[in-house]
């Protein structure tokens, strides 16, 4: 099946974005929550700009509609073992 993939981690296609838009999800944050783009392993590095451009084009080239989605730490998936010591460390410091 021919598909144009916007988000390859979550398999979100151009059709998915079109559908979401026609259902009334017309800002980037809602589009993200509805279709799931940018919620995969790469954390949106490969799709957020695509989705923003897509939305802006659907709105007739209006770039102001593409306010960034909320970004949250961590930037990359990281094993929990990297932070296991943090609690200990804070405990020691507060003593």
């Amino acid at each position: 099946m021919g598909r144009t993939i916007v988000c390859r981690c979550e398999d979100v296609t151009v059709e998915d974005l079109n559908q979401a838009f026609s259902e009334g999800y017309r800002d980037l944050e809602s589009l993200k929550r509805y279709t799931g783009f940018s919620t995969g392993f790469c954390q949106g590095k490969c799709c957020t700009a695509h989705a923003a451009r897509f939305l802006s084009a659907l709105k007739g080239g209006d770039d102001t509609v593409a306010d960034p989605i909320r970004t949250r730490p961590l930037l990359h998936p990281t094993p929990a073992s990297h932070f296991a010591r943090a609690v200990e460390l804070l405990d020691e410091e507060s003593k």
Partner: protein, 477 residues
């Protein structure tokens, strides 16, 4: 299995292969080198499908080779979701693909892709009964997901190194290196964090810098950066605003928790593949990924290679591929002039003008590409190619600045740029940004904006007449 081709590594290449090692891939013993990422050794050995996508089980392979996408994930030594483009080959390593049934190579669930029509809409699925729901949930989790839980011993907690610093610079590309150099030259202590193994960022792109000569010069410059605490393979993970900024970064053996008075973010851009039908087919790479693969690691994944793009850098990559005797299927561009184009014509590279890519075709790997005239939707030309390099509009890596609340602005042309004033200062007074995330469009411009941000940052830490003069003269020039 068609093999990739190893070419001779040119002299002065910062990406030497190192010593030969053998590792296990799904029961076969494969050869790699100890300075070479697993993904590269696998492609050289002809492994094409690295995994399957979550929903439609479409084949997936490495796309960026810079640790940004998810195309190269595999299970390594019993731990799932390892980025093989960032993991060097080690002798005796056990590497497996983690998605697809019975295997990623032959995955029966590809049927979902073939049978589900235009869209598989999960919003209305599994809502009838709670029992069915639970079963469906179980099945879906088995089918998709990101690999099985680890069989390796639990990882021991990584030590955390906590300290403070005048300034942290994130990203050791042209902008970050000159920012760090400038800051330390002004007498401030600087921690420079680089996600990749090598410092240099775009300076390491072999083709886009007019070949190896320029790289050598830059390497010297990079090596001359002294008095800066540099951590490579240490991606910054988070920035928390506060009285002092808290920067969290981590590498294999250590987590860094740095309290910094100032921060300069120079994280560059992410490489993406533009939107066209089947743009996710393995064999399609961004220009910088192909550059790293061929010019850096000296592996040609497949031939002939089609190059699609407008930028000088992309056209120069095509020229460099030709010089390295890589078979080209041609160059697709709407450019009609420029030195890079003239030089391609001189090298007898076939140019397809006024066309754009509308569709990629192939089963598990790229077979051919359909092109259409710029003004039409209908494809009128089919080109055989086994690898395709396509340039996409820029996608700056703005996230870390955004974590801390710096304002970011979007334009279709540039993507999300971190907003800065003339001196590189963001809307958060303690944070500066330089290079491609602040709008530079070349290595030279990035280096300059790094220097400017470095000076302004130094001034904001400590007033100094000489530094002020330097900054003023830069602003004028």
């Amino acid at each position: 299995m068609a093999q990739g081709r190893r070419i001779k590594s040119p002299e002065g290449n910062p990406f030497e292969r190192g010593k030969q090692v053998r590792f296990q891939f799904e029961g076969r013993s494969l050869q790699g080198y100890d300075h070479e990422p697993l993904a590269v050794a696998l492609m050289a050995a002809g492994v094409r499908v690295f995994g399957r996508s979550l929903k439609y089980h479409r084949p997936r392979g490495p796309v960026c080779l810079h640790g940004h996408c998810s195309g190269c994930l595999m299970r390594v030594n019993g731990v799932a979701n390892i980025r093989t483009c960032e993991t060097p080959c080690r002798s005796g390593m056990v590497v497996e693909r983690q998605t697809g049934w019975p295997s990623a190579g032959l995955d029966f669930f590809r049927a979902v892709d073939l049978l589900s029509g235009e869209r598989l809409d999960h919003h209305g699925m599994f809502t009838a009964s709670s029992v069915l729901n639970r079963i469906a949930g179980y099945v879906v989790r088995k089918l998709s997901g990101l690999g099985a839980p680890p069989t390796a011993d639990p990882q021991t907690p990584v030590p955390i190194s906590r300290f403070s610093s005048d300034a942290v610079v994130i990203g050791a590309g042209a902008a970050g290196l000159s920012a760090a150099k400038t800051l330390s030259g002004c007498g401030h202590n600087v921690v420079l964090l680089e996600a990749e193994e090598h410092r240099g960022g775009r300076l390491l792109d072999g083709a886009t810098q007019n070949g190896w000569e320029r790289i050598r010069d830059f390497k010297e410059e990079i090596e001359s950066v002294a008095g800066i605490e540099i951590h490579v393979k240490t991606p910054a993970l988070a920035v928390y605003p506060g009285d002092t900024l808290q920067v969290v970064a981590g590498n294999e053996g250590k987590t860094f928790w740095i309290s910094a008075r100032r921060l300069i973010v120079c994280t560059g851009t992410y490489e993406q593949i533009p939107l066209f039908e089947n743009n996710d087919l393995p064999g399609i790479f961004g220009p910088r990924a192909m550059d790293r693969l061929v010019c850096g690691y000296s592996v040609v994944p497949a031939e002939p290679v089609l190059v699609v793009g407008e930028r000088d850098a992309t056209l120069r990559l095509a020229g460099r591929l030709r010089e390295l005797n890589v078979t080209l299927a041609g160059v697709v561009t709407t450019r009609t002039e420029g030195d890079a184009l003239t030089s391609l014509k001189r090298k007898n590279v076939e140019i397809f003008q006024d066309r754009r890519i509308v569709r990629a075709l192939g089963g598990k790997w790229l077979d051919r590409v359909e092109l259409a005239h710029r003004s039409s939707e209908q494809s009128d030309l089919v080109l055989d190619c086994r690898a395709c390099v396509v340039e996409a509009p820029p996608a700056p890596a703005y996230e870390l600045a955004h974590h801390a609340g710096c304002r970011v602005s979007f334009s279709s042309q540039s993507g999300y740029l971190v907003q800065v004033n003339d001196e590189g200062q963001t809307t958060h007074g303690q944070i500066f940004a330089a290079g491609h995330i602040a709008g530079s469009d070349s290595v030279d411009a990035a280096a300059q904006s790094g220097e400017r941000a470095g000076l302004a940052c130094a001034l904001s830490l400590k007033d100094d007449a000489q530094v002020r003069r330097r900054l003023e003269s830069m602003q004028k020039g």
